[in-house]
Symmetry: D3
Subunit: 165 residues, 6 copies
Amino acid sequence: MTTKTPGLTHIDAAQRPAMVDIGDKQVTSRTATARARVRFPPDVAAHLRDEALRVAKGSVIDTAIIAGTLAVKRTHELIPFCHPLPIHGIAFAIDWSDAVTLSIECRVRTEHRTGVEMEALTGASVAALTVYDMCKALSHEIVLMDTRLLAKRGGRRDVGPEAAA
Amino acid sequence: MTTKTPGLTHIDAAQRPAMVDIGDKQVTSRTATARARVRFPPDVAAHLRDEALRVAKGSVIDTAIIAGTLAVKRTHELIPFCHPLPIHGIAFAIDWSDAVTLSIECRVRTEHRTGVEMEALTGASVAALTVYDMCKALSHEIVLMDTRLLAKRGGRRDVGPEAAA
Amino acid sequence: MTTKTPGLTHIDAAQRPAMVDIGDKQVTSRTATARARVRFPPDVAAHLRDEALRVAKGSVIDTAIIAGTLAVKRTHELIPFCHPLPIHGIAFAIDWSDAVTLSIECRVRTEHRTGVEMEALTGASVAALTVYDMCKALSHEIVLMDTRLLAKRGGRRDVGPEAAA
Amino acid sequence: MTTKTPGLTHIDAAQRPAMVDIGDKQVTSRTATARARVRFPPDVAAHLRDEALRVAKGSVIDTAIIAGTLAVKRTHELIPFCHPLPIHGIAFAIDWSDAVTLSIECRVRTEHRTGVEMEALTGASVAALTVYDMCKALSHEIVLMDTRLLAKRGGRRDVGPEAAA
Amino acid sequence: MTTKTPGLTHIDAAQRPAMVDIGDKQVTSRTATARARVRFPPDVAAHLRDEALRVAKGSVIDTAIIAGTLAVKRTHELIPFCHPLPIHGIAFAIDWSDAVTLSIECRVRTEHRTGVEMEALTGASVAALTVYDMCKALSHEIVLMDTRLLAKRGGRRDVGPEAAA
Amino acid sequence: MTTKTPGLTHIDAAQRPAMVDIGDKQVTSRTATARARVRFPPDVAAHLRDEALRVAKGSVIDTAIIAGTLAVKRTHELIPFCHPLPIHGIAFAIDWSDAVTLSIECRVRTEHRTGVEMEALTGASVAALTVYDMCKALSHEIVLMDTRLLAKRGGRRDVGPEAAA
């Protein structure tokens, strides 16, 4: 049992969890974009989209962006084997993708020896959790739908379409 | 525009985001259970479920539980308007719910003036992100499926079936 | 030199810094309100108060409130001898007090064995620093004016007028 | 409403708060110096300046320096849109500037794509809050006077006199 | 393999690590005292004990106390299955126990459903690490000797002599 | 008393604690390895080494590795004058060194202007504290034995044998 588990880079030869050593990787400019989606019950979504709530929604979205931004910066504290790294930019795009679904995209940019997909995923997730928290008095049926990587650039191989990168 | 937005408890009369004051609420024993699901591409799931990886998977799950447990305790640092509160217990149950989907349940218990649904949702989310991180070298097609509240007890009204509470 | 320094409760008999033991104090309902003020150069203030910037200012204020709220909750991590304590409510009121000065009031409520004046002062200070950060591209002449306690209630003696409490 | 707000670099084209992308800025050696001032009521200042308290004051100042140093390193956690960055040096100079006013200067040095003025301002502010905390049993009339940037070097343009840099 | 591991309270029936649920335990007044010891090479110890360094040593000890105090408050962030809990008091006693050994005692007091021995041990350990850091330019032969629990009170059974409690 | 204390690099000319300025040091590849040891009472050690506990021990060790890894990344938050720095790799080796003693080695790798010995010592210490926490229900006689630096490379001078580096 002294061989490394194929593919599981965070499991060492002793079958224990471990950080990957990135000391020999190249410093490159890297980006990653992830998306989370928050689905509301139809009446709650209608309520949130109502004219009268537009200003309030501004504050909901501001809060989500700020929480997500702070979470991106703390990814290495939350995900045990993520490396601390410089963050050059974080951008959120939050909007309705259909009548009941709020789409939250988080794009992160760095220049380092490892990618920032976990940072983008963590930022999108915490922003989505924050929207949930701000709206949970309206319903307990809110669901954080599929959270996934849309694109990454700058690592060994590109992921996702150029439009999303 | 000095009236409180109906239902959005975190928006104050000036339309600014705000913490809810819980000083006049009752201290009660409360629990909340949330579930996140991680869906793998079939070949990746098969690889992870393979006999040879069972011990390694132990470490993946241990890491997810620990990251999720720490995240529960830091929920009030991540979600801006969550209250800091005592945590009496945190329990994770992680297992395959079908051939390609890992189910992560997080149950949190407290005795306080407000519930712990955000804590349970945050714990499940960060555990799921950690599984993603541990397995991402295998695929970038992993998706955090629906994350939702399964049950809560001890607040103004119960949510979800007794079996999940 | 083995006597306690009169009045300096955080210096022990050995002249070393120390946390005050609050184990024998009463649990009471307590509030504290602090105020910071941010003074802008006249042209910068005029720019910020301009009609066209009103929505943007909303985001500046949202960001300050969120940063201040999070800082209140982390006061015991920032100020070495502050006690960790439950926070029942945090409320910010931010508005222009004159043509060039933005006033930031932070009111904190708890039920514990010690007061929350440092929490209120820390919340107001970090909210003011955040306003500075959001506006610093406009000028390096922004000044955080007087930051002070306006009122506290629930401790051995009340401080400040009832209107501010 | 799709144009960027002039001057408010932290507000994006959608009027939402956002981190500035520094990926294309130059890495340069940078310093920033900020100053906070703590003003005491005359009798409290006299008490603190008294011979008998000199050793104790040492501990008050040590505590302020340490709290300020730790706060500099956590600036990006406190101020939502500050970038995490390497810190090469932090130096505090704390002394009486007149009979009732303690001056706290904090100088920060880095080599990065963005400046450290928020780090210097945050360090000075938290050091001042710590002095307040250590002395608050003596008076609730202590005021954190003007906190401001004294000088910065290494960015697009210098700020402040050479003597303060 | 569905039985709980005897004695290992942090391993659940599925052999996974888990937090102990303290919801049904009694709230009692509790203290714990731990001690770490830092042993220096003789010449380094002599240097540190020298008259000329006494004031400097004051700052070394102040720094250790502050770092240890902050670490006590963050124990639940560092040790995965520790519960967040109120801290009523933290007291450090640091002195030479013999010519080359600095003894660091940390006593923690709470009123909660679980004890504070990990808080005391963490406080003593981080204070000792801080002394190491402050003195490491003098030698790399400094050793953190035995770190242990001296006494605890208020739980199911007392540990250690009354004099140490 | 305006001269710098010989050897105590963290004490400035005013006898106050201070961070060392590393701005003029070379960026080099650096490693440090530290070791902590946890000594159990013989019956507890036998219990832990028992066949039936082997899987459980896996979780104890996983938990220690994860806590230690997270602590390495937070060293600059725990030790006041440590610099925040990139971490390229963290590796733990945990095994019995004799019948009653668990040895915990932590090796840290960076490329920066200062070394990572405090990171390695902090990682080993927190991993050891975590083992203590996981096993403390079995005994209060567990002792964290000598924690020390085994080797470092990449600074002004090497420390320790090549085999440990």
